[in-house]
C-alpha cells in the first residue's frame, strides 16, 4: 500500500500542475468575459475603462485561476479513479485503495494495482494540453481587445476627426481640474455639487474618449456652467443668511444681557457715564446700609421697629447686589465692544455678508478674496479663543465662508473652461470673426433678446490648413441678462489676439484684419 501511496503523491503533484494550467485558461476566460463587458460599457459610454484595466482583468483572472487550480484539493479516490480511466487500469487502483486487506483476493488486488502503477507515467495520464478552455480564453481575450480597440483607437477616424479628438482630450484634463476642487471636503460639497462634479467627470471622460464632438462638448459644458452658476448663487445666499443669522444671534445675546442687568443700549453706548452713575448709586446704598446697621445695634427697639429696620436693610443689600451685577455686565460688554479684534470680526462679518449679497447678483468674490477672509477669521478666532460668548459666532462665520468657497470653486472655472472650448463663457480666438457687427458695445448690462445658435464654420489657422470650428452665438446665459460689461472683457481678448498674432497662429493674410477688428471695437485705441 505504501508503494501505491508514494506513487499517488507524485501523480497528485502532476494533477495540481495540470489543474493550474487549466485554471489559467478558465480564469483568463472569465477575466476576458469581464473585460468584454467593460469594453461594451466603455463603448456605450456607461462606464469608461482603459487598457490597464482590460489587461488586468485577463491577467488577474489567469493568476486567480492558476492559484485556485493549484490549491484545489485532489481526492485520493478520485485520483485513483481518474488514473484507472486514463491508463486503462480497469478499476484496479480504485479497488486496491478501497481494499481492507481482509478478503482472500485483497492482497492480490493490491499487488496487481501496485504492479500496474509501477509503469505509470504522470505525463501520459495528465498531459498539459491546449484544451477548449484555452481556446475559449484566447478567443475571449481577442474579443475584449478588439472591442476595446475599435472603441478607442483613432485609426479609423479621418484626419480632421483625429485632430478634434486630440483637442478634446487636451481639454478633458482641464475639465478634471475643475471637478477636483468641487469634491474637496474642505469646500463641504453638497449633494448637488457632487452631482455636478460627477457630470463634469463624465464630460471629461467623454471628451477624453472622443465620444462626443466639440459641438456637443460645448453644449454640455454650457449646461454645466449654468448649473454651477445656480449652485454658486445658492451657496452665496446660504452664506449671506448664515452671516446674518450669526450677527442677529450676537445682537440678541447683547440685548438679553443688557435687559438682565436693567440697562439699555444707550447705557452701553455711554458706558463711562453709566458706570459713574451706578457707582454713585452703589455708594449711596452703602451709606444707607451702614446707617441701618447702626440703628439695629441700638437697644430699646420694639419688635415691630426691629422688623421694619431689618426688612429695609435686606432690600438695600439686594439693590446693592443688583447694581454690582449691572456694573459687571456693563464692564464685560464695554470691554468686548471696545476690543479691536471684536471690531475687526464685525467688519469681517459685514464684508462677508456684502460679498455674498453681491455674488447673488453675479459679482462673485474671487477664491483669493475668500481665502484671505478665511485666514483673517482664523487669526481672529485664535486671538478670541478665550471669549466664550463669541465662539458660536466665529463658528457660524467659518461655516458661511466655507459655503462661499464651495460656491466659487466650480462656476468661474467652468466659465473659463467654456472660454477654452470656444463657447459662450467668453469668445475664443476661433470665433473672433463671427458676428462682429452684432457686438454689444454698451458699458452697462442689459437684456439681449437673442437665442443661442450654434453652427460649424471652416477656416484656416496659422499654416495648418483648414479646420472646423464650432461657433455659438447668443447671450451669456440664454434668456438672461448680460452680466459682464463689454469694456471689461475687450482688453483681455485683444491681448489674447495680439499674442496669437505674435506666435504666428493667425495666417499672415488675416493678421491685419484682426488688428483692424479690435481697433474698430476699441475706437482706435488698439496697439
Amino acid at each position: 500500500m505504501k508503494g501505491i501511496d508514494d506513487k499517488l503523491k507524485k501523480l497528485t503533484r502532476r494533477v495540481r500542475l495540470a489543474k493550474a494550467v487549466r485554471g489559467v485558461a478558465i480564469g483568463a476566460l472569465f477575466g476576458a468575459a469581464i473585460a468584454v463587458v467593460l469594453a461594451v460599457l466603455d463603448r456605450l459610454g456607461v462606464y469608461y475603462t482603459n487598457w490597464p484595466v482590460i489587461i488586468a482583468c485577463c491577467a488577474g483572472g489567469s493568476l486567480l485561476g492558476f492559484v485556485i487550480g493549484f490549491a484545489l484539493k485532489v481526492s485520493r479516490l478520485d485520483l485513483a479513479d481518474s488514473v484507472d480511466r486514463r491508463l486503462g487500469f480497469k478499476n484496479r487502483l480504485r479497488t486496491a485503495l478501497e481494499s481492507r486487506g481482509e478478503g482472500e483476493f485483497d492482497q492480490a488486488v493490491l499487488a496487481d494495482a501496485e504492479a500496474r502503477l509501477e509503469g505509470a507515467n504522470g505525463r501520459t495520464a495528465f498531459p498539459l494540453k491546449f484544451s477548449k478552455w484555452h481556446a475559449g480564453a484566447v478567443f475571449g481575450v481577442a474579443i475584449a481587445a478588439t472591442l476595446f480597440l475599435l472603441s478607442n483607437s483613432p485609426i479609423f477616424l479621418s484626419d480632421e476627426a483625429k485632430k478634434e479628438r486630440a483637442e478634446l482630450q487636451k481639454t478633458a484634463d482641464q475639465v478634471r481640474r475643475v471637478a477636483k476642487p468641487i469634491l474637496d471636503p474642505k469646500n463641504n460639497p453638497g449633494e448637488l455639487e457632487r452631482e455636478l462634479a460627477e457630470r463634469l467627470e463624465k464630460l471629461a471622460k467623454d471628451m477624453e474618449k472622443g465620444r462626443m464632438t466639440k459641438k456637443e462638448a460645448l453644449i454640455k459644458a454650457n449646461e454645466l456652467s449654468k448649473t454651477a452658476d445656480e449652485l454658486a448663487k445658492n451657496r452665496m445666499a446660504n452664506a449671506e443668511k448664515m452671516t446674518l443669522d450669526a450677527q442677529t444671534a450676537l445682537e440678541r445675546m447683547t440685548k438679553e444681557q443688557l435687559e438682565k442687568a436693567g440697562l439699555t443700549e444707550e447705557d452701553l453706548a455711554n458706558a463711562k457715564q453709566t458706570k459713574e452713575r451706578l457707582t454713585a448709586k452703589e455708594n449711596a446704598l452703602q451709606s444707607e446700609i451702614d446707617k441701618l446697621k447702626k440703628e439695629l445695634e441700638k437697644t430699646g427697639l420694639s419688635g415691630a421697629e426691629r422688623n421694619q429696620l431689618e426688612s429695609e436693610l435686606k432690600q438695600a443689600q439686594k439693590d446693592q447686589l443688583d447694581i454690582k451685577l449691572s456694573k459687571e455686565v456693563l464692564e464685560f460688554l464695554d470691554r468686548l465692544h471696545n476690543m479691536p479684534e471684536f471690531k475687526e470680526l464685525m467688519e469681517l462679518a459685514s464684508k462677508l455678508q456684502q460679498s455674498a449679497g453681491e455674488a447673488k447678483e453675479g459679482k462673485q468674490p474671487t477664491q483669493e478674496e475668500i481665502d484671505e477672509m478665511i485666514k483673517q477669521l482664523e487669526e481672529l478666532a485664535e486671538k478670541l479663543k478665550d471669549e466664550e460668548s463669541l465662539r458660536e459666532f466665529i463658528e457660524q462665520l467659518k461655516k458661511a465662508l466655507a459655503e462661499c468657497k464651495g460656491g466659487t470653486c466650480s462656476s468661474p472655472a467652468l466659465i473659463a473652461l467654456l472660454s477654452m472650448l470656444g463657447g459662450n463663457g467668453g469668445r475664443s480666438q476661433d470665433n473672433f470673426y463671427s458676428g462682429t457687427d452684432q457686438v454689444n458695445k454698451n458699458k452697462d448690462e442689459q437684456d439681449i433678446k437673442a437665442t443661442t445658435e450654434s453652427h460649424a464654420v471652416r477656416g484656416e489657422r496659422a499654416e495648418q490648413g483648414e479646420e472646423t470650428h464650432i461657433e455659438i452665438s447668443g447671450p451669456s446665459s440664454p434668456g438672461e441678462r448680460s452680466k459682464t460689461p463689454y469694456t471689461n472683457v475687450l482688453p483681455k481678448y485683444q491681448k489674447s489676439a495680439e499674442r496669437a498674432i505674435d506666435r504666428q497662429k493667425i495666417p499672415k493674410s488675416q493678421q491685419k484684419r484682426v488688428r483692424e477688428y479690435f481697433e474698430s471695437l476699441s475706437g482706435g485705441k488698439g496697439k
Binding site: V74, S82, K90, T95, A96, V109, D112
Partner: protein
C-alpha cells in the same frame, strides 16, 4: 491456495468445461459461456431461441462435462405442477400396510432443462418458483431439499408464437441470465450437419465434478468490487426504473429491474473479471454483463413496442446514458 492460484484454477476449469462442451456444440460460444456463468454463479439461465438450435444438447453436454445429473421436462399446455415437482402416491408395503409416499418429480436433478417453458400454463410455470429460489420443493406440507448444485435452464420460443404463455415477471426475475440463442452461421451449420450425420458420434468428457462447481462458486464471491464500480452498476439498474429522472425508462418501459437484477449484473461481472485474469470488477465487466442480466427483467411499454424496440435496444440507450453521466472526476 493463493488468490492467484484460485483465479488461475477458475479460469482454466471454466475453459476446460467450455472446450469439452464445444466438442459437441458447434458455435454458440456466448451461449455456452452464459450457461457456464450461470452454473458458476449459482443461477438459472433462460434460453430464448427457435426449436432445433441445440438447447437440449447443450444441457446434456453441460451435465456430462461437470459430471452432474440432468433432467428434462417438456412443457406443454396440459402439464400439471405435480408433473414437475412430484406427487404423493398411495403405496402398499409387503406387509400390506398402506401409506402415502412422495414420488420425486424430474426437478430432483442437478441440471434441469425446462424445455419450452412458455408453452405451459402460468400455474405450472409457477411450480418452478420455489425450487429455483429456495432450492426446496414442498409437497403435501413437507419440504424436500434439492441437491446442490441445482440449476434450471429453461428454453422458450419467442412469445409472438401461437400457443405460448408469457412467463410471469416474478418467475423471469429468478433467472440469472437470459441468453438469446442465434441461428448458426453457414459454416457452423455445415459443421453441425457433418457431425450429426456421420458415423462418429461425439461424446462429452467429464472435466469437472460437483465439488469443482461449488469451489468455482466460492471463488466468484471473493472478487472485489470498488464503490464507484458498484455505483456504476446500480446506476444502470436504477435507470431502468420508470421515473421522471429517467426519461428513457419513462418512455420505453413499464417496469424496471428488481434488486435481483443488480445482484445478477455484479455477479456476472465478477465472473467476467476472473475470466479476464483480474481480482476486481471493472466497469467494462459491468457493461458486458448488463444486457444478459437485465433484458428479461424489464417490461417494454406500449410505446416502445409500437416503435418495434427490443429490450436490448432500450438497454443500449440506458447504458449509453449512464456512461455519458459517468465522468472522469479529475478533468484537466
Amino acid at each position: 491456495m493463493t488468490a492467484e492460484q484460485s483465479s488461475e484454477w477458475f479460469r482454466s476449469k471454466f475453459e476446460e468445461i467450455r472446450t469439452a462442451i464445444g466438442g459437441v456444440i458447434v458455435g454458440q460460444r456466448e451461449v455456452v459461456e452464459g450457461v457456464l456463468m450461470g452454473l458458476a454463479a449459482n443461477g438459472h439461465v433462460l434460453l430464448e431461441g427457435m426449436p432445433g438450435l441445440g438447447k437440449t444438447l447443450l444441457v446434456r453436454s453441460l451435465a456430462q462435462a461437470v459430471d452432474l445429473s440432468s433432467g428434462r421436462i417438456q412443457f406443454t399446455p396440459d402439464l400439471m405442477p405435480a408433473d414437475v415437482t412430484g406427487t404423493n402416491i398411495l403405496s402398499q408395503s409387503d406387509s400390506g400396510e398402506r401409506r402415502f409416499e412422495f414420488r420425486r418429480g424430474p426437478i430432483f436433478t442437478n441440471v434441469l432443462l425446462a424445455d419450452e417453458i412458455n408453452r405451459a400454463t402460468p400455474k405450472t410455470q409457477s411450480a418452478l418458483l420455489e425450487a429455483m429460489q429456495e432450492r426446496f420443493v414442498t409437497a403435501a406440507g413437507i419440504r424436500h431439499q434439492l441437491e446442490e448444485p441445482f440449476m434450471v435452464m429453461a428454453t422458450q420460443n419467442p412469445i409472438e408464437q401461437e400457443g405460448t404463455y408469457p412467463l410471469p415477471e416474478a418467475q423471469l426475475d429468478r433467472f440469472f441470465l437470459k441468453l438469446i440463442v442465434p441461428y448458426p452461421s453457414r459454416e457452423e451449420l455445415a459443421n453441425i450437419v457433418t457431425r450429426t450425420t456421420g458415423s462418429e458420434m461425439q461424446s462429452v468428457p467429464s472435466v469437472a465434478n460437483r465439488e469443482d462447481v461449488l469451489r468455482m462458486r466460492d471463488i466468484v464471491r471473493e472478487v472485489a468490487v470498488a464503490q464507484n464500480v458498484l455505483d456504476f452498476a446500480l446506476s444502470i439498474v436504477l435507470s431502468t426504473q420508470p421515473h421522471p429522472e429517467n426519461p428513457i425508462a419513462m418512455r420505453c418501459l413499464r417496469y424496471g429491474s428488481s434488486p435481483r437484477g443488480a445482484q445478477s449484473v455484479v455477479t456476472a461481472a465478477k465472473i467476467y473479471a476472473l475470466l479476464d485474469g483480474r481480482y476486481n470488477v471493472a466497469k467494462e465487466d459491468i457493461l458486458r454483463a448488463s444486457k444478459a442480466s437485465l433484458r428479461h427483467r424489464i417490461g417494454l411499454s406500449f410505446e416502445a413496442e409500437a416503435d418495434a424496440m427490443s429490450a436490448d435496444t432500450v438497454l443500449d440507450r440506458v447504458i449509453e446514458n449512464v456512461q455519458q453521466a459517468d465522468k472522469d472526476p479529475i478533468s484537466v
